[in-house]
């Protein structure tokens, strides 16, 4: 015990000792999550990669989980923070169920709860380093929203995190429409995930697609997308610019 203690109060976040107490950067991260509303509910896709910096270290990470009866949560960013969030939500749903009174928290409520958690952590300079996608159906109402690590939240017909915002959203803006069938929705998501696979360094070719409807949630077995590398531009990349690699 150091009695010549620092002049700062115990709960101060300033100073080198305090740095070990708050998140400064993520370690094991997941990449994009993409989701859209379709006729019967929500479809969400995420690959199963957990990167350790630039190493594709873990290849069976489930980044989408069901929450209660009505919601589905997908996360990108720090995996350990995602697990922490799942623990918070587990407790939340437990207490909700303990009321045993016919009321239950729907996706809108869970989304707002998460917004409060993320924003409050951000205000303490100790964020949960995640971008979350929360989708679900309750009483016939479809809901799809997102929250970032700084507490920015909104709902939309299609959302994505990370690289998905730059590569997938433009595709969705062109091709999404109301009342997509399940097959069309999956096809659209796969199109987005394929682009991400080609262009996102941290993406791996092992993904899951989750579906949530009024009846419940299902998550597919992991599978991989067919890719095509024989584009002529790739055959001789140095053609246009000698010396390039």
């Amino acid at each position: 015990m150091n009695f010549m203690a620092s002049k700062q109060p115990e709960n101060s976040l300033l100073g080198p000792e305090a740095d070990s107490q708050r998140t400064l950067y993520p370690y094991v991260t997941g990449t994009s999550v993409v989701a859209l509303k379709y006729k019967d509910g929500i479809l969400m896709a995420a690959d199963m990669g957990g990167s350790y910096g630039s190493t594709l270290r873990y290849k069976s990470v489930e980044r989408m989980k069901p929450i209660g009866k009505h919601s589905l949560l997908g996360a990108s960013g720090e995996i350990s923070d995602f697990q922490e969030i799942l623990r918070y939500l587990d407790e939340l749903i437990l207490y909700d169920n303990m009321w045993d009174d016919g009321n239950s928290l729907g996706p809108k409520e869970v989304h707002n709860y998460l917004t409060r958690v993320m924003y409050n952590r951000r205000n303490k300079f100790n964020p949960l380093w995640n971008s979350l996608v929360l989708g679900g159906v309750k009483n016939g109402q479809k809901y799809l929203g997102t929250v970032s690590m700084i507490g920015v939240n909104f709902e939309d017909n299609h959302v994505a995190t990370g690289f998905g915002n730059h590569l997938a959203r433009p595709i969705l803006r062109q091709e999404w429409h109301e009342n997509l069938s399940y097959e069309d929705g999956v096809r659209l998501l796969e199109k987005c995930m394929r682009v991400l696979l080609y262009r996102d360094r941290s993406a791996i070719n092992k993904l899951q697609i989750a579906k949530i409807t009024e009846e419940g949630m299902t998550i597919s077995q992991p599978y991989s997308l067919k890719t095509y590398w024989e584009f002529s531009a790739f055959a001789n990349p140095a053609q246009g610019a000698v010396g390039t690699w």
Partner: protein, 278 residues
């Protein structure tokens, strides 16, 4: 009830297994002026008798809006009622802020009941001396609850508390089977009739009563004096055809007529039986 050696504090049981302080608190509810509540599948109406102490003063507030979907009418120590209303408003607004969704009435009522129970098990506290009729709209429909000082709560189709509430209860008991499918306006009329029963012959005027409504598509609000008076006029006069334009089914309700309330009066206390549930 008579004084006895077991009634000094709330943490003393009587040999018969009664907590007299809690029962005395419920007595305080019976002495307060009447409050009634009734519900259909889609609406709940709260009403209360509001008599000012003197002509110079205004009357006490007995109906409180707790949230857009919940309101409460009180009988008993109105100061205790005010404090509990503030607690309820707080709970509602905190839930709304966190979940952006209205707090289900059933849960608010349980929290309120648990709060009341604490006061029946601490030697340094006293029970709240107020009964609350909580009206609220949920995902699961329209609800009316009664919260007791004892920490119990019950759900009702219709209920009345306070002095001379037995007259209103008798009226409601006769009619409650129809309430489920009643229209909003008929529900309000039934509420006014029930309030009139507690007045014992005194003329029903909008200046001595307050009525509030909450329903599907209709946030909780207290009806203004004019509207209430119009509705009173519409049914009070037998045989008169059309009331003001605001009440389309005024004619039907006017034909229902006035029935003399021959019910027995007073705050009834059942001797020998612990009245833990009213």
């Amino acid at each position: 009830m008579f004084r006895n050696q077991y009634d000094t504090d709330v943490t003393t049981w009587s040999p018969a297994g009664r907590l007299f302080q809690v029962e005395y608190a419920m007595e305080a509810v019976k002495q307060g002026s009447a409050a009634i509540g009734l519900r259909s599948k889609t609406h709940i109406v709260l009403g209360c008798v509001n008599k000012a102490n003197s002509e110079l003063s205004s009357h006490q507030k007995k109906i409180f809006k707790v949230d857009d979907h919940i309101g409460v009418a009180i009988a008993g120590l109105t100061a205790d009622g005010r404090v509990l209303s503030r607690y309820m408003r707080n709970e509602c607004i905190n839930y709304s802020f966190t979940y952006e969704s209205p707090l289900p009435v059933g849960r608010l009522v349980v929290q309120l009941a648990d709060k009341a129970q604490v006061c029946t098990q601490r030697s340094w506290k006293r029970p709240y001396g107020v009964g609350l009729l909580v009206a609220g709209l949920d995902e699961s429909g329209a609800h009316l609850y009664y919260n007791c000082p004892s920490g119990n709560y019950f759900e009702y189709q219709a209920f009345a508390i306070g002095s001379r509430s037995q007259a209103a209860k008798t009226y409601l008991e006769r009619r409650f089977k129809n309430f489920s499918d009643s229209s909003r306006d008929n529900l309000v009329k039934d509420a006014l009739m029930a309030i009139r029963e507690t007045l014992q012959g005194e003329t029903l005027k909008s200046s001595i009563c307050t009525v509030a409504v909450v329903g599907v598509g209709e946030p909780f609000h207290i009806l203004d004096q004019e509207t209430v008076q119009q509705m009173i006029d519409a049914f009070e006069i037998v045989g008169e055809q059309e009331g003001p334009a605001a009440e389309p089914d005024a004619a039907a309700a006017a034909a229902a007529g006035q029935e003399a309330a021959a019910a027995d009066q007073g705050g009834s206390t059942e001797e020998g039986v612990a009245p833990m549930d009213i």
